[in-house]
Symmetry: C2
Subunit: 130 residues, 2 copies
């Protein structure tokens, strides 16, 4: 018998089930910084500081945590290059690359919808019946 | 001249820019409850309590906030049906439906990847070099 708050990867994943592990994985991917890091790395490999410049607004600490989470989940690889000083590069795994395609199409759709969303907000905020 | 922390919908949206409005819109859509509410509504219209049962684990307060945000952003419509007692139904707008297709394909991909992610976590957590 498993504890009720433990996710069971042997069952088929169902994001609607409150204990399903897919919820956490999704949140790691679609959280503010996870999503941007994944997108940036889908453009090419990055060293830490270059990635931090690309993901505008992220703190060193948050980017470091985000990359660790994505590495642990198997979406990102961290490679230490033997140079002086040693360099660390981040890149997507095959799984990360596959997922980044879906993330990118969602992001592009949302970027394209921003004017519509802003117009909807204006209507909502000025609705006299509200 | 616009204040630096105000998003400008007249510029092309770029999720990498820290003040771009697309970041907020994305977070409303891909946050834990926004994503699940959007997915559930892509199955069909829901009344509040039925939606709350579908989005397993959400509190009344969080679901209510989530739906308000999605309504304000133009992804969800709230319809009051003239019945006794009055009934309120939630459904996707055309924009919500379009975005839900991308969200669903991402979610299905991630659900399918859960066994791989769990295996990656095991490897990461037992790596003696870490």
């Amino acid at each position: 018998m498993s504890a009720p708050d433990v996710s069971d990867a042997s069952l088929e994943a169902d994001v609607f089930a409150r204990n399903c592990g897919s919820r956490d994985v999704l949140q790691n991917l679609t959280g503010r910084w996870g999503l941007l890091a994944l997108l940036a790395l889908s453009e090419g490999d990055y060293r830490f500081n270059a990635l931090r410049r690309r993901v505008d607004g992220v703190s060193e600490r948050m980017l470091s945590q985000t990359l660790q989470t994505l590495e642990r989940d198997g979406f990102v690889t961290r490679t230490v290059l033997q140079s002086i000083p040693p360099r660390v590069e981040y890149s997507l795994t095959d799984l990360g690359r596959a997922v980044s395609v879906s993330v990118r199409s969602l992001v592009e759709q949302v970027e394209g919808a921003v004017p519509q969303v802003m117009a909807a907000r204006d209507r909502y905020d000025t609705d006299p019946d509200r």
